[in-house]
């Protein structure tokens, strides 16, 4: 029988050996889809702890990257047992690094934390022109669009992307969050986004607030 509290704690501690051992032992019992789903939820709660420890200054960006990888590996072990059971989706996010910018570390951290929090994330990739955001929004009808960028010139691309969403008549049906080193309150206002963050954990919290 899986001790979900122990699993959550091991994920929160980023104790990879313990997480993998617990899950392998659990998998050996050939769990039902419902049981496997509970294990996924326990891992996701562990990611919540990681996010809190990051905000408290106990963990840093490198730890968040490790946590994302740990979660991916954990879900990989559980996948064969999940069957048709899926966790409840709390919302959909279309995510991408904006035109001109090739950086994706921050975007990927946000993605893994958002997925751990229950979002379905459609990741467009890097250097994405406004048109690609518009097309994807039309296709998957998300509640949220997340734009990422590291270079100061990403701010201009973010503004063009918001303008394109507006021109396509999509802006009012979505919330827009921008993230990355150069974003500030002023930039957020100029761009016409709803929120900004330089902190992936905080970004996920903002998104959770929007879909409550």
């Amino acid at each position: 029988m899986l001790d979900t509290d122990l699993l959550t704690k091991a994920v929160g501690d980023l104790d990879e050996d313990s997480v993998i051992k617990q899950l392998q032992e659990f998998a050996a019992t050939n769990p039902s889809p419902e049981e496997a789903q509970k294990a996924v939820a326990a891992c996701q709660s562990g990611m919540g702890i990681v996010g809190e420890l990051f905000e408290q200054g106990e963990y840093f960006v490198g730890d968040l990257i490790f946590a994302g990888e740990l979660l991916t590996n954990a879900v990989e072990i559980l996948k064969p047992y999940l069957g048709g059971a899926t966790s409840e989706k709390i919302g959909t996010i279309v995510l991408g690094t904006v035109a001109g910018d090739l950086h994706d570390i921050g975007k990927n951290i946000f993605k893994s934390m958002a997925e751990a929090a229950g979002f379905e994330v459609h990741d467009l990739g890097i250097d994405q022109p406004p048109g690609n955001f518009v097309e994807k929004v039309k296709e998957v009808k998300p509640e949220i669009v997340g734009m990422s960028g590291v270079l100061t010139l990403a701010l201009e691309s973010m503004k063009l992307t918001v303008d394109a969403l507006r021109d396509a008549g999509l802006r009012d049906s979505i919330k827009v969050i921008i993230g990355g080193n150069p974003v500030t309150k002023e930039a957020c206002e100029q761009i016409g986004a709803d929120a900004f963050t330089t902190n992936a954990a905080e970004g996920v919290k903002i998104c959770q607030g929007w879909v409550k």
């Binding site: 980023l14 960006v61 990888e69 001109g100 090739l102 950086h103």
Partner: protein, 453 residues
């Protein structure tokens, strides 16, 4: 002496004073504007300008006319597309907007650690460089040899095109020939491993999964990055530049055992040779200020973020502080606010000397540059950050005898031919060829390492 020559001498004196722990006449100002921003400022096509660097000369000249600085604001570029594109680089790639960037890529796999630790330079050349530069296909050796040669020629040509512009501007405007010059450019061993070899994600995994190998890899890379940065002719006025990258993304525990030890020993070894260090502390280094204090006296520290007072109080008597003025303010805030910030910064950082004015980072593109605010800020600093006691010695002084080199691995590889080896194979070689051949070996080493920094 002409007015310009006198101005240049005066500016050199400002930097000489700072580097010698003396109070200068006024705070020296060092402004840098990157190639891309200069090209955009000149209304040039960015991609074209990067392929024809000589065409930015006029725009660079106009910028120098407009913006005051004691050092030449134009410094060419580290990243011209010619050699990266010839080599089909994965690690330096041009985005759709024409800016060359470093995406997250992996040049070394976890299973390469043992070979890297055993034969670091061989591993870089045989495995890492071919992974990062797809045109260097080991299965197509003739093509590969030609491609590498072509890329080197392109590198030499483009760097050569930018250099005379800097020389021309320095003479025309009387810029300091001391301030802003580097003796070398290299990375901390851990950053080298993280940035070009394992990638941000890879290194974050390795720190937890195989810390012993990370530590051993840093030891193995030490002689390479040491050699890369070591100036041919050391001068205390030409520090070696290290852009420091990973520490603020790490826990202090990991930093203290994996990042810091090899870096500290490396700069101490430089100091023992009379070579000073300049570091760019990317992000906010507040939690590492005590470590920074331990670096050799008069290390030039460019800060991006942090508390002015705390940095000055902790480091100001031992090291040379610069940076911290938020460049992004210039494009977004009113002139008054920009001037208030300048006043706030010089009030805290200028007293006692050991301070050079510059922004926390360079503007990336022309939109980041509000010429009016730029001018107002640097002219304010020039006219107001003036000392009443120039020439006085202040704070600690740098003395190479205070430092010693710890025992370490030496640099050796079958891909770096030393003179004795060459002579053994070519007994007829003249002794007069020694310097030339070792110099060629050195040029190739520096170029190959340039591809990984």
């Amino acid at each position: 002496m002409s007015d310009v020559a006198a101005l240049q001498q005066e500016r050199n004196e400002l930097f000489r004073a700072v580097h010698n722990s003396k109070i200068p006449k006024r705070v020296p100002i060092s402004i840098s504007i990157p190639f891309e921003a200069v090209a955009q400022f000149g209304g040039l096509d960015l991609v074209q300008a990067q392929w024809q660097p000589e065409i930015v000369a006029e725009a660079a000249d106009r910028l120098c006319e407009l913006i005051f600085s004691d050092t030449c604001p134009f410094f060419g570029s580290m990243r011209f597309p010619s050699f990266y594109q010839i080599l089909d680089s994965q690690s330096f790639v041009m985005g759709s907007n024409g800016f060359i960037q470093h995406p997250e890529v992996t040049g070394m796999l976890p299973e390469d650690y043992d070979y890297l630790i055993e034969k670091p330079y061989d591993c870089l050349l045989e495995r890492v460089i071919p992974r990062q530069y797809k045109a260097l296909d080991l299965k197509d050796p003739v093509k590969m040899a030609l491609t590498l040669t072509k890329s080197y020629l392109a590198y030499r040509e483009d760097m050569g095109a930018a250099a005379p512009i800097i020389g021309m501007l320095t003479e025309k405007y009387g810029y300091s020939t001391i301030g802003g010059s580097f003796g070398g450019f290299t990375s901390a061993p851990f950053d080298f491993l993280a940035d070009q070899l394992r990638g941000f994600k890879g290194i974050s995994m390795d720190i937890r999964r195989m810390p012993e190998k990370v530590a051993a890899a840093c030891e193995a890379l030490y002689p390479i990055v040491f050699k890369q940065g070591l100036p041919a002719n050391p001068s205390i006025y030409a520090p070696v530049m290290f852009p420091l990258h990973m520490p603020t993304f790490m826990r202090e525990k990991d930093f203290a055992r994996l990042w810091w030890p090899t870096f500290k020993r490396l700069v101490d070894e430089y100091a023992s040779l009379g070579v000073r260090t300049q570091i760019f502390c990317e992000d906010d280094w507040t939690r590492y200020l005590d470590y920074l204090y331990e670096l050799p006296t008069n290390t030039v520290m460019i800060f991006e973020y942090g508390d002015l007072r705390q940095i000055k109080d902790k480091l100001g008597k031992k090291h040379i502080i610069t940076g911290l003025y938020p460049m992004t303010m210039l494009a977004r805030e009113s002139k008054e606010k920009c001037l208030d910030k300048a006043k706030e910064i010089i009030d805290v950082l200028a007293p006692g000397g050991k301070y050079i004015f510059q922004f926390d980072k360079q503007p990336l593109n022309a939109q980041d540059i509000n010429i009016e605010n730029y001018r107002a800020v640097v002219e304010y600093v020039r006219d107001n950050a003036v000392y009443s006691n120039p020439g006085e010695v202040h704070g600690l002084e740098f003395n190479p005898a205070d430092y010693k080199a710890e025992p370490r691995r030496s640099f050796e590889s079958k891909y770096f031919t030393v003179w004795e080896e060459f002579k053994a194979r070519n007994p007829a070689v003249s002794e007069h060829g020694k310097e030339k051949l070792q110099n060629l070996e050195e040029i190739l080493f520096q170029y190959l390492m340039y591809l990984l920094i």
